[in-house]
């Protein structure tokens, strides 16, 4: 029996794996791991299915020349080929002609090594990752307010004592079901344009029009102040900048907020009353608040509300962001992000560069500066002056990036696309070189979950023959790029030891964490051997003067609003049985049985207006293109809004229609709102009709 963690979301539910006689493993939820304490959602239960996926990648593939079919190759041949091509491209066009795209599901060791590989072995500034599409807005707002960004600055289990929890754009009943057990005792205020599974559990459901969450947050702050719930003592003692922030919120009185958001004045007041009536209360944000061209400001507006009520840094209360991807937290701390070095350091900070360069044994001046953000990086591929080669680890941007057709075109325009993955994802399908790598139960390493707790991922079975670890791949490539092999160890324990030194003194300090003692809770920062910090900010915030910062923000419209041609809001999200781009979960029959096909939720009236019927096919069209989805009529939906999950491939990609308008601070794309219309579609003749309802 091996204790490890589920491969999917940021809860990182504890699991116990047993090798099964048939070759795979069976999984049981870990009763002793406090985050899930014996619970597991259907994705976790069925995760072993990905290990034995029928189309598992087990041999490297090379496209010998452009346009040719890919052929299996030996590892040596594949790595030599990639090394040679990369050297050629770098020599001709400079180090920034090679780009790297990582993922929030990679272990800390992989994320760390990937960033180091980019900066040292490639010397490129062109590195970013899919967390840009996930966590970046909350990270920017959290850092600005508190001086450090740790999704939950308290253990998940603290939520169990809460009396009131406001969930802004977080559908946890669907996306992280085991978290619900910690929310059972609380009155939930759920902010979501849809009556989501989580909203069904709510004491109060606020349903703003897509793209108006910021106005709602400003309105809640306004009402909190006007109704006398400001915690003045806390403001004076622990914060800066309330007055300026209030002057922005002063323009968002309840009746104006009602007209803009569609949330009744009475409900705004009820929400504030609920929050104010409790002693133990939390505000939590999710992607619904964050994935906007104003996501950072929206999160800041919720943090402002939390600060005005005196919640952050108080035992039993607080603000937190519900990180999404498995290692969404650790993945944003250790240097695969365009502007970062390990330990959540800024790549523009000379002291940070000096420290990390020392650990890496290189000259600080040799480290590149900050590069473009995720979408900007992908959108520059193959363009004049843009990268000509891309290495992808742990990501499937063909499905997960906004304006997906445009990004697929960019990928196709590259001289060289190298993808390391364990299944043939849609991005793998475009790759010139495919490198088959290990997955969760086949590898050791660490992950950092949504509460900043560092966890051990443990190997329970041998990977299939022909499969190598990402660390091994990076080492072998580095050697082919002229690096000494000892600079790129492929043993996770050794890499973690180096990561500890690289992160020492940084905001996300892992220096005191012991790889072999991770069954004991280890929340960063850990500056001394064995130190764990389950709760941040109880005495002070991480800014130099120990105070939190209000950030004055005001509402602005979404980048694209409905009009005569595209009269509906389209919003995207997730369903319970699928995970992210679906590359893993779509390979598990048990998961695709109920949710195997792209669908669009439409109000019955709206369906009627566009000539659609429940169960029929529709094309959902925006200015970026169209996607094909099966219609599900949902009477609780707003008549002006349609919803599409983004897990599905090919013509069913929701991201074919999404708007790549970027947040000016976090560079987060606007996944959550664009203007769209619906068109009925004939059932393709091959289909036998009916379909799932």
């Amino acid at each position: 029996m091996v204790r490890t963690h589920c491969p999917y979301c940021a809860l990182q539910c504890g699991t116990r794996l047993e090798a099964s006689p048939s070759g795979g493993v069976t999984v049981l939820p870990d009763e002793e791991f406090p985050v899930n304490a014996g619970r597991l959602c259907v994705k976790g239960w069925t995760a072993p299915g990905v290990l034995t996926a029928a189309d598992r990648l087990t041999a490297p593939l090379i496209r010998p020349r452009p346009g040719a079919a890919r052929q299996p190759a030996s590892w040596a041949a594949a790595l030599d080929h990639v090394g040679r091509e990369l050297r050629k491209i770098t020599a001709a066009s400079g180090p920034d002609a090679v780009a790297v795209f990582g993922g929030g599901g990679l272990t800390n060791e992989k994320a760390y090594t990937l960033g180091k590989f980019a900066r040292v072995a490639l010397g490129t500034s062109q590195v970013d990752y899919n967390g840009r599409f996930c966590m970046s807005s909350a990270a920017a707002a959290g850092s600005a307010a508190f001086g450090v960004d740790r999704g939950l600055p308290f253990p998940v289990t603290d939520l169990a004592q809460a009396e009131v929890v406001l969930l802004a754009g977080a559908n946890v009943a669907e996306t992280m079901p085991p978290l619900m057990r910690h929310l059972e005792g609380a009155d939930l205020i759920v902010v979501d344009p849809r009556r989501s599974a989580t909203a069904e559990h709510a004491a109060l459901h606020l349903s703003p029009a897509p793209g108006t969450d910021l106005a709602l947050a400003l309105g809640l702050l306004h009402t909190a102040v006007a109704d006398g719930h400001l915690d003045r003592e806390y403001l004076d003692r622990r914060t800066h900048g309330f007055d300026e922030t209030w002057r922005c919120a002063a323009e968002w009185w309840p009746e104006r907020v009602e007209r803009v958001t569609g949330v009744p004045v009475a409900d705004q007041r009820a929400a504030v009353r609920l929050l104010a009536s409790a002693r133990r209360r939390y505000l939590l944000t999710g992607r619904g608040a964050e994935q906007h061209s104003k996501g950072t400001d929206t999160v800041s507006a919720y943090i402002n509300l939390a600060l005005a009520l005196g919640l952050p840094g108080r035992a039993g209360s607080g603000y937190g962001c519900l990180t999404g991807q498995g290692n969404g937290q650790g993945g944003r701390e250790h240097g695969q992000k365009a502007d970062q070095l390990p330990g959540y350091r800024k790549i523009t900070d000379p002291a940070a560069r000096a420290h990390v360069a020392r650990v890496w044994g290189v000259d600080p001046d040799a480290l590149p500066g900050p590069g473009p953000s995720g979408y900007e990086l992908l959108d520059s591929l193959g363009r004049p002056g843009g990268p000509r080669a891309l290495l992808v680890f742990g990501s499937n941007p063909v499905v997960s990036a906004p304006a997906a057709r445009r990004i697929a075109d960019r990928l196709a325009s590259l001289d060289l696309l190298v993808v390391a993955d364990f299944v043939p994802s849609e991005t793998v399908e475009l790759a010139d070189v495919v490198l088959p790598v290990t997955q969760w139960a086949e590898e050791d390493g660490t992950m950092t979950n949504l509460e900043g707790r560092v966890l051990r991922r443990r190997r329970a079975l041998d990977p299939p023959p022909g499969v190598r670890s990402d660390l091994w791949v990076l080492r072998e490539l580095a050697v082919r790029l002229g690096q000494p092999p000892e600079r790129f160890p492929d043993d996770p324990r050794t890499v973690f030891a180096e990561l500890r030194r690289a992160s020492a003194g940084g905001p996300a300090d892992y220096s005191g964490i012991d790889f072999d003692a991770l069954d004991t809770p280890a929340h960063w920062p850990s500056r001394a051997e064995g130190e764990s910090t389950p709760r941040l900010f109880l005495d002070r915030f991480a800014h130099d003067d120990g105070r939190a910062r209000f950030r004055p923000v005001t509402h602005r419209d979404a980048a694209e609003l409905p009009d005569a041609d595209y009269p509906l809001y389209a919003t995207t999200g997730r369903v319970l049985a699928q995970y992210q781009s679906g590359a893993q979960t779509r390979r598990v029959p048990e998961l695709t049985a109920g949710a195997g096909e792209a669908f669009v939720e439409v109000h019955p009236d709206t369906a009627g207006r566009f000539g659609l019927a429940d169960g029929g096919l529709a094309r959902v069209v925006s200015r970026r293109g169209g996607t094909v989805a099966r219609v599900r009529t949902v009477a609780s939906l707003r008549t002006d809004t349609v919803f599409l999950p983004f897990h599905f491939p090919d013509a069913g990609r929701a991201n074919l229609i999404t708007n790549p308008a970027l947040d000016p601070v976090s560079r987060m794309p606007e996944f959550k709102v664009c203007a769209a219309r619906l068109e009925p579609l004939e059932e393709p003749p091959a289909e036998t009709g009916g379909g799932p309802s």
């Binding site: 085991p178 300026e244 569609g262 009744p264």
Partner: protein, 498 residues
């Protein structure tokens, strides 16, 4: 560098200056505000009256960082259109390439004996509610639990009356028209509103005019005398057009401008409460803000076409190539705590060719009337329907089709009962969403030997996700136990749960 002078630091002038600071950063923008206060949010005056916000809390973000020069306490008194200079009361001169009049409106003071002194100032213990200075004066005069008379039962009068009751004042509203808010409401809705106000301690005296204010009581035309510590005048507003009139600009009810907010002088524009835009004077903040958006875009366009001075006439289109102001959907939302009232479009007036949806319970202060034509809302009055005001307003603003179930729009769909009798649950019904476990799955597991809750959980994984189905599984377990294995999976029926 083009010089833009904005006369008026109210909502329209402030918003325009804010937008121009961002859109025409290379221009030199000056705002002249007659009041000494920095810019503030006039809408929040009722909150000041109600004691919820200190007067200073209505102040807005200073615009100096946006590159805008704001001169408060400086009243514009003259315009030399030939030399393009604004003259202020303090003797200062403000040359302009473009002048924007955002002079707003002032309170209308009805002819009531004793209301206005010889110096033109309001009598002691009488106050209008227009400026923040008025608000501060009202604060000083206000006595918690005192008696107040509100003269004028329009939108503002009703809001102020309700705010005063939040200070435990006894309030009489004297209104000349047949019922309060007769400009917006028909008699039925007006009657319901009066009864709602009464519940908050507000007495409405309609159909009467005030004749004299003695300092401690108001005398009405029917002989009634209303003792009061405080008289609040809210008898309407008059567009402030004197500056424009003296400059020889065309003035009707307001300063006459076209859809590009332009007067007949291409160098002078006007917006907000002082402006008569294509024949309409608004008096609400939403149109003023929309006009500011339009004007900022227009001026940025004009500046791009003609960055320097010189004669504009005939050279640059008044719109600068931008869109004109097309009007703002007429929507009046009462800002009074626990009095949820919105009037939109044609209100409760008959609209030819429309279908009418009504729901009313006058005894409990609820009245809804909605006119729908071509599936679009053309008018509505909603009083005492706090849950639907937002949805109806948004449908109206967007001119979006109304849901087929009109009544559900007004009163909300009936709640779906989440609890289900295990016996009545269809076999295909999903009990555990997280693990996609149906009643049939649980029954099958029972029959295969899982005879208690923990065994059912092990066999089916039900309850192991969010745990929300814990009670349902326990109920099923008890039901199965009671039936002692008699239960059979039901025949296939459409699933109720998603």
């Amino acid at each position: 560098m083009s010089r833009i002078v904005i006369v008026g630091n109210g909502p329209a002038g402030y918003r325009l200056a804010q937008l121009l600071g961002a859109r025409a950063p290379e221009s030199d923008i000056t705002v002249l505000g007659e009041e000494r206060e920095p810019a503030y949010n006039r809408v929040l005056l009722t909150d000041v009256v109600a004691g919820r916000l200190a007067a200073e809390r209505t102040h807005l973000t200073p615009l100096d960082r946006a590159g805008v020069r704001v001169r408060t306490g400086v009243a514009a008194v003259g315009i030399d259109r030939h030399r393009r200079v604004v003259r202020a009361a303090d003797g200062s001169l403000h040359p302009y390439d473009h002048l924007v009049l955002a002079t707003g409106a002032r309170s209308f003071l009805p002819p009531v004996s004793g209301l206005v002194g010889a110096d033109g100032a309001l009598a002691p213990r009488a106050v209008a509610v227009r400026t923040l200075a008025d608000g501060r004066r009202l604060e000083r005069l206000l006595r918690e639990g005192g008696r107040a008379v509100v003269l004028g039962g329009g939108v503002l009068g009703v809001e102020i009356a309700r705010a005063l009751t939040e200070r435990d004042c006894k309030v009489d509203v004297v209104h000349r028209g047949p019922h309060v808010m007769d400009g917006q409401l028909g008699p039925d809705a007006g009657r319901v509103l009066s009864s709602v106000l009464e519940r908050f301690g507000i007495r409405v005296l309609a159909g009467r005019t005030a004749t004299a204010w003695t300092g401690d009581r108001l005398e009405l035309d029917d002989g009634t005398e209303l003792p009061a510590d405080l008289l609040v005048v809210s008898a309407g507003a008059v567009p402030e057009v004197e500056l424009a009139r003296r400059a020889g600009l065309r003035v009707g009810r307001g300063i006459v401008v076209d859809a590009y907010l332009c007067t007949e002088d291409p160098r002078i524009r006007a917006l907000g409460d002082c402006a008569e835009v294509e024949g309409r004077v608004s008096g609400l903040v939403a149109p003023a803000w929309e006009q500011a958006e339009v004007l900022a875009e227009v001026l940025a366009g004009v500046l791009a076409e003609a960055p320097a001075g010189g004669d504009l006439a005939g050279k640059v289109p008044a719109g600068g190539g931008g869109r004109g102001y097309a009007g703002t959907p007429a929507l009046t939302r009462l800002k009074a705590r626990d009095v949820d009232l919105v009037v939109l479009g044609e209100g409760d007036r008959e609209v030819p060719g429309s279908e009418v949806v009504t729901v009313a319970d006058a005894a409990r202060g609820r009245y809804a009337r909605m006119s729908v034509r071509g599936d679009r809302i053309v008018g509505a009055v909603l009083l005492g329907f706090p849950g639907c005001v937002a949805a109806v307003s948004q449908l109206f603003d967007a001119a979006a089709p109304v849901p087929a179930d009109r009544i559900a729009l007004l009163v909300g769909a009936g709640a779906v009962d989440g609890t289900a009798d295990p016996a009545a649950l269809p076999g295909q019904a999903v009990v555990c969403r997280c693990n996609n476990v149906t009643k049939n799955d649980l029954v099958a597991a029972w029959r295969a030997g899982a005879r208690e809750r923990s065994a059912l959980v092990r066999a089916t994984r039900a309850t192991t996700g969010c745990g929300g189905c814990g009670d349902a599984v326990a109920d099923l377990c008890r039901w199965l136990g009671a039936a002692d294995g008699e239960a059979r999976p039901e025949p296939m029926r459409p699933a109720l749960a998603r």
